[in-house]
Symmetry: D2
């Protein structure tokens, strides 16, 4: 296994600098496994690394192979690995946690004090092979389509957000219909929501939102979000806000539309601090705001499994584009156009 493989590497600091390189196949440690990548999908995070936004500039240390949403076949296991075997078809939790901090020890490993992320802090999956700790492997049935298996990690963000607070029989507003947003809509629909209102500034994505289960969609560039949803709810507003955009106006409008006593679940990251009327929008209304990061280990993954195996959620429509790994440039351009759902690469 001292041979070479193809991989997309962030070679230098700065915008761009993604290159398809020939690099050594990774060596594994005693508790690691080596995976031959079957499919890997592009995350918004990968786009931030490409564009070298402030977060990326601060965190990424090139050269690094990027990519953290993937699936593949186990081709080698470390000497201390017991519960994964060569030949297993696995997806991966991308957060490598320390298992020993106070948060890991009390059911909050998803916000471990020492999280390392695959494809961010160490080599990732836009490559023919990727090495990960065996503890990060998630078993898939052999007949699961690779593009669905690659999506599970990102779908997990949607599941974590959608199921943070009860949605059954309730009125839900989803602000932001990127890939995670529309997958969230699918979960909320599967979980028996009474009605799903969805907003985005891309009509392409609103179309996708309807396909995934939204009852009413609207583009805030074209119509007034607050007025429209109030009208649709007899002036009452919604029971739950699922915020997937990180946009200031979406957060403000969403909180305004939320009924007193309601739950706001926030996944979208605002690019910077902004002015918020906590007193009127949160405190006096008795609202609960839930910040969401990652996937609960491993509660969310069991929920992923349940939703996919029962057929309650079908992720096929989310995958709008497929590319070979060496067409990664075109794949990223598609992803950045706003005219896509999920973009999957095949090494």
């Amino acid at each position: 296994m001292s041979e070479m493989m193809k991989a997309v590497v962030k070679t230098h600091a700065g915008p761009g600098f993604f290159e398809l390189c020939e690099v050594p196949i990774p060596q594994i440690r005693a508790t690691d496994i080596l995976i031959r990548t079957r499919a890997t999908s592009i995350c918004g995070t990968d786009v931030h690394i490409y564009n070298w936004n402030p977060w990326a500039a601060n965190r990424i240390k090139p050269p690094v192979i990027i990519g953290h949403e993937f699936c593949g076949d186990v081709v080698e296991i470390g000497s201390q690995v017991n519960d994964v075997q060569v030949g297993d078809f696995i997806s991966a939790e991308s957060h490598i946690v320390d298992h020993t901090c106070d948060l890991c020890r009390t059911g909050m490993a998803h916000i471990c004090r020492n999280t390392q992320i695959i494809g961010v802090d160490r080599d990732g999956s836009f490559a023919e092979f990727v090495a990960i700790p065996a503890a990060n492997a998630w078993q898939n049935p052999p007949n699961m389509p690779p593009e669905i298996a690659a999506l599970e990690e990102n779908f997990g963000n949607a599941v974590h957000t959608a199921l943070e607070t009860p949605v059954v029989a309730r009125k839900i507003l989803v602000t932001g219909c990127g890939p995670v947003g529309v997958m969230t809509i699918a979960v909320v629909k599967a979980a028996g929501a009474r009605s799903i209102y969805a907003s985005d500034i891309s009509d392409y994505r609103l179309e996708l939102a309807r396909k995934m289960g939204a009852d009413l969609t609207l583009n805030p560039k074209q119509s007034n979000l607050v007025e429209t949803v109030l009208e649709a709810t007899n002036g009452e507003g919604v029971d739950v806000l699922l915020e997937m955009s990180g946009a200031q106006s979406a957060i403000r409008d969403g909180l305004q539309l939320l009924k007193a006593g309601g739950h706001a679940v926030l996944l979208g990251l605002p690019p910077k601090p902004f002015e918020l009327d906590l007193g009127n929008l949160v405190i006096m209304k008795g609202i609960t705001v839930h910040g969401i990061a990652g996937r609960k280990l491993w509660e969310t993954w069991y929920e992923i499994r349940g939703l996919l195996r029962s057929g309650a959620v079908n992720l096929e429509p989310v995958i709008t584009h497929r590319f070979r790994l060496y067409d990664f440039e075109q794949a990223f351009q598609t992803m950045m156009s706003g005219e896509s759902g999920k973009v999957v690469l095949f090494p």
Copy 2:
């Protein structure tokens, strides 16, 4: 309004003694409303009153008009009634609570210390007219089918049971497929369960269970419940038990099939005390057992509304028989045959 009406009256203590009588239309008090009954359905409780089981013998004071699942049009309102109007199409919460005890004041009115039940402790709905406190009215849309509206109260037991603990993406066992059982299956299905296993000793009811969403049904007279469900779950058992039968064997088998840390939600009333291995079935497994009574006021009713209006639950298949009020004898015989879902009467 001093005229007479037709009503089914329990005239004397003892089995039977149901009679279609001519009785005065009820007078209402300042906080009451009078309803012209459009539809009313038969509950297991009504059968107990008919058969005069120990509970009925202890509680019912004949003569009383029975029936507590119903809908109708408001034809008169008391002088202090503000939020119900003549012409409203309403269903009714059958539990009349005192609004002032410690339980009512802390979100537990469904188990009020001084509950009175319509059709049990006072005259009920197997009649052309019925009088109830305005506070017990629930508004329906004018175009809701009367037989569905009549069913809401009983559907509420199913909703209360099914949504007591999360079911989304989880494996569920429903023991007992009478009308409430199969409606519970429909709620669990609508709420995104991963798989639904259902048991009953009537093949007719198991057929109905499959129609309402059960993935696997079985008759414990014909096959072994524990073995079958263990096999279907790779030996793991289920995440949630919803017990709707009150049968000892169902409770024991259900608890045995429940995974450690799981939730057992019990609605079915065992006819008498019985031997239970609390140590092995509950304590050492770290299980939580939830006793369920009535409907949460009014959280459950809002959930009823949400599930019906979105179409997530369709109750039509549950209603298997319809009769005119004066055919009540035939209706009760049908209900007692075990070869029926819900039986509805039209006055």
Copy 3:
């Protein structure tokens, strides 16, 4: 009862305009009760009305008798009142709710859509007599000291905040040590907190915080809150933030000090919108933020009763000043000096 009484009236819009007037004793309606006030305490809200801040200017319609924290003896009951009797010694919930909106019907009456507040939207308790709905009365034991009974409503804010999320065995930060803040400290102490850190810009109040149970107090004008608390917690931060000040810096520092996955409970009202880093302080840390308004009806009042009757909380030290009603000017000056705990008036 057509006689006259003494009352403190906000006579005109604008700062000041509090006047001790001779006004008619209130008439009661069928569902009301009339109370002879024994004691009534000054709330921050009363100070806002005195100073005529933007909120007051927008909401108060003079002339109105102010005051909403009080206790007294029932001297008359309306014709439909059953559960309160002449001679009862009662405190009052100051929020008059409609009992019929969706929030009231689902356990959230404390944020009723149509709340009216005593002493704000209708005549209040800085008077010899006050009329309230019987449904707002809370029974006290005859031997409870009137100044404690008057405090129960405000103590309820502290109880609601402190018990919103588990505090037992946990590290707690309380920002803001006004009267509600120090009562919150007392509740958290009674509930078994591991350690209580408290901050305020008044040394007088920090002294009171220590008396009520704070383990470590600090004045952010004199030392760095973040550094001090991090040092005291081995760099880990706290499990729970109870924000009672409404100050921007307290909210920001408090959220920064909160452990990932922790709970922030916000009662203090920021005077206006301000810039907040939701992404880093809430979302990526997986924090839950709880907005708190009023007292849960009536869960909080039962908790008030439990904490006072067991002696787990002693409110005596909070009451630092007592005045006769006609010395109300001096009482307000004391309250506004920052050198007081709770100020009580005796009509």
Copy 4:
């Protein structure tokens, strides 16, 4: 480390057969640590092994060194151990879990599918040295008294039970005042309970219950539990039942005394199945029953730490007897007399 040590060994199946033997000091594996025992206490489980009750006969495979409540100094660590060091003063979680089953992966490691118990399924702590996985070690401050540190594991059962459901400001009934029962009383007291009623058939233990915080104690052999507690609660009953005895009558009386909607938390193991009126005692009252096993890993241990370090709980009074290890026979006789709290052995 091939030397010998003293240990209490269950040498053969059957009642008795405890012997102080000279055995080899345990060898450790790569992920284990070796501890020189400072103190170790006797659990009810050890008494069952001594008496060879049906559970013990079924589970124990002699010869085995018994004992699982202990503390000591780390004297050797395995080659892969990183977070424990020689010289650390540790207590131990006695449940060795597999870390990989579905329960371990979803926050329920305390009911792991493959739990092995120290001193039950493998050699334990009634010995000069004991070997455990490093993952089971819990760090103590160097100055913690050894007899308190030895007690933490058993105290954890009390903490897990007492904090399963809110007790602050509530009325609590504790049935069973053995060592775990009285430690539970101490936790409930520290957590702000309104009142604590306690029952046991030993007056010695009731005396201990009062020392640890019970407000009212009673011996059901001498007075009627149901009548006494109803009288003390104005006929209302209690909010929470903490059942620590496993006695049928205590479970039945406790459930009867529990208010509708209340919580019953069961730790005591009934020796065999028994007749229970689930319908009237649980279902119709809308009660929630929580089975409790072990300690939550590691939430309970953080709560143990919080309660002990703040001084909110003082365990000193629970420790009534101290013996040298070679006086183990006398220690067991004391423990079995019913006239003791906790009995601690010092190797």
